[in-house]
Symmetry: D3
Subunit: 134 residues, 6 copies
Amino acid sequence: MDTTTHRHELGELTLSRITGGTGTSVVESLKDIAPDLAEWIIAFSYGDVMSRPGLDLRSRQFATVAALTAMGTAMPQLRVHLHGALNVGCKPSELVEVILQMAVFSGFPSAINALNVAREVFKDRGTTPGEKLR
Amino acid sequence: MDTTTHRHELGELTLSRITGGTGTSVVESLKDIAPDLAEWIIAFSYGDVMSRPGLDLRSRQFATVAALTAMGTAMPQLRVHLHGALNVGCKPSELVEVILQMAVFSGFPSAINALNVAREVFKDRGTTPGEKLR
Amino acid sequence: MDTTTHRHELGELTLSRITGGTGTSVVESLKDIAPDLAEWIIAFSYGDVMSRPGLDLRSRQFATVAALTAMGTAMPQLRVHLHGALNVGCKPSELVEVILQMAVFSGFPSAINALNVAREVFKDRGTTPGEKLR
Amino acid sequence: MDTTTHRHELGELTLSRITGGTGTSVVESLKDIAPDLAEWIIAFSYGDVMSRPGLDLRSRQFATVAALTAMGTAMPQLRVHLHGALNVGCKPSELVEVILQMAVFSGFPSAINALNVAREVFKDRGTTPGEKLR
Amino acid sequence: MDTTTHRHELGELTLSRITGGTGTSVVESLKDIAPDLAEWIIAFSYGDVMSRPGLDLRSRQFATVAALTAMGTAMPQLRVHLHGALNVGCKPSELVEVILQMAVFSGFPSAINALNVAREVFKDRGTTPGEKLR
Amino acid sequence: MDTTTHRHELGELTLSRITGGTGTSVVESLKDIAPDLAEWIIAFSYGDVMSRPGLDLRSRQFATVAALTAMGTAMPQLRVHLHGALNVGCKPSELVEVILQMAVFSGFPSAINALNVAREVFKDRGTTPGEKLR
């Protein structure tokens, strides 16, 4: 198996493991307008970057949720990665913690807006942050 | 012990545990111009938020490093929190992973600029990412 | 009355004075997913920060509207704070001035997008900027 | 013809040339709430800036599309300027290239979100990026 | 006096009133590389926008300081406008209030970084926030 | 030649063509702390993205300079890409035009800060924008 095939296959595996159907459908949706971007997401973002062994997937998803919350310009991606975080074993209450923490670093509006996405994701999954958070 | 004292003491404890001398000196430096901001950092940011039991400190620091890297407007704070991350047990190689991952979400410049801060932090601590990263 | 009660009561008072029903309903809406964030908004954002005597509430709302316009990532909060600004005595024409000024500092798109929110807020309140602006 | 008239007329000409009806209707929509902003868009943004002879309009639109994609806070304006880019002779496939390139500089989410706007613009115009992009 | 002369003269007056020598020297420094940008700052930013009668200069400077603090990408301009705010009668303690308030909206790092600029500006002017802030 | 070798070699070629020694030394400087990021810059950013045939290199550099100016968080990269733009045939006066145009989209501070970088780059190259710009 040459390296290109390897990157693609590894990326598909990690994409599927993290985002499940949600991520796959984002990638599919790009194929009409920018098939190479779809391929880069698989081979680069998931094959080269997210598949790296040096950090567990739960920590990777905490980092992604934090960054997308702080940026505030990527709500559709935040939704995908909250699903992704739940898929790799992050607990809803932990994701709420990551988002709340962003109130300190990027301000209360960024945390409030991200929680509104999280509420919908949790509802779609039939889950809740579970207990009073403190 | 009333709640105000509790918040302050809990905050001091967590601030000291995460940032050690670095964070304390930031807080001290604010006392001339905005003593109440210094107190909010202790009682709110560290007492109310960072001390919450629902997420371990390593994960909190991964989240903070990710967010500050993605924002790109808080290099002094990134430095403090890279120190903080090392203080609570994040490995240098794991912090490099978090920063590299941001190339996907906030672009290569954000990752490169954060790595340049990380290199200095690692040097100050006499540590390195240790091994070839992959 | 201990300090914690004081912060909460002061915060509720200022929240109610600035945002009226709008802000209260945002806070209420957070209680299912993050009750502590709801409490922080009251006790910290409004009790500790917005209640401080060193700056009048009109100036505080001009500052908030300016910042949220410039950031461009917090349209729901801009709406709440435009209402808040009107509640504490800012004139519609003054709020338009603050937003127009942001064309200089954060660019024309940020001003245009904020004006589109302001138009809706003014309409909801049955008010207008009133006169030709110059 | 005095300079003020000149700025306005030159601006109207360039606005019309770049954005056609779309830009004109944005300007019209501002006249109720901020007529002077509408005038600044014509006389300053299009008269003073976009009409300058030192750079061709295609390059100007590539620059605008790149900036609005990277900022991520100006989707309505991105839509207007994608139309504008097509109006001055940029090819759909070239606009996709500019957007894809932003994956490197401002991250994959910024590119994906901009492509979703581009897809709608291309559809409204009955055009496509035309060929497999590579 | 035709309108162009009027815009320029009005802009020079307001620029001088707000920023004094600091702003003038920024404008001067641009003349080698982009003389038209220098002119736009005078005629558009200060002549068209900042000179408008609908909002007092103190409120305008509160808005500008808030926005530049929240953006975090314009520290040299924040410095100029903190000077400008002091020039038009804002008190140091009021400027500290505006900056502290941004901790809520754009996060603690944005407030801390802006305070570090404010400290230098106050020092250059031989002033201080004067009293314990609360 | 397999695809991996091809991506790397193509990337090196384009990196060298655009950024010359400047870009190569950035890549080299990353090898101690994150050798894989260095490789991604070559194989992904320059091999996969910047080498694509669908857009000429001058247009690509206009887009990059526009985006980095608007973002305001990537001054070291703006410097590299201003050099890169000059290397692929953009004229200094054209780069000034792109930066000036950003005053409209991301605000005057973003344009002023970018011009200050451009002035240094032009000086390093012994060039100037050449003529009065209009």
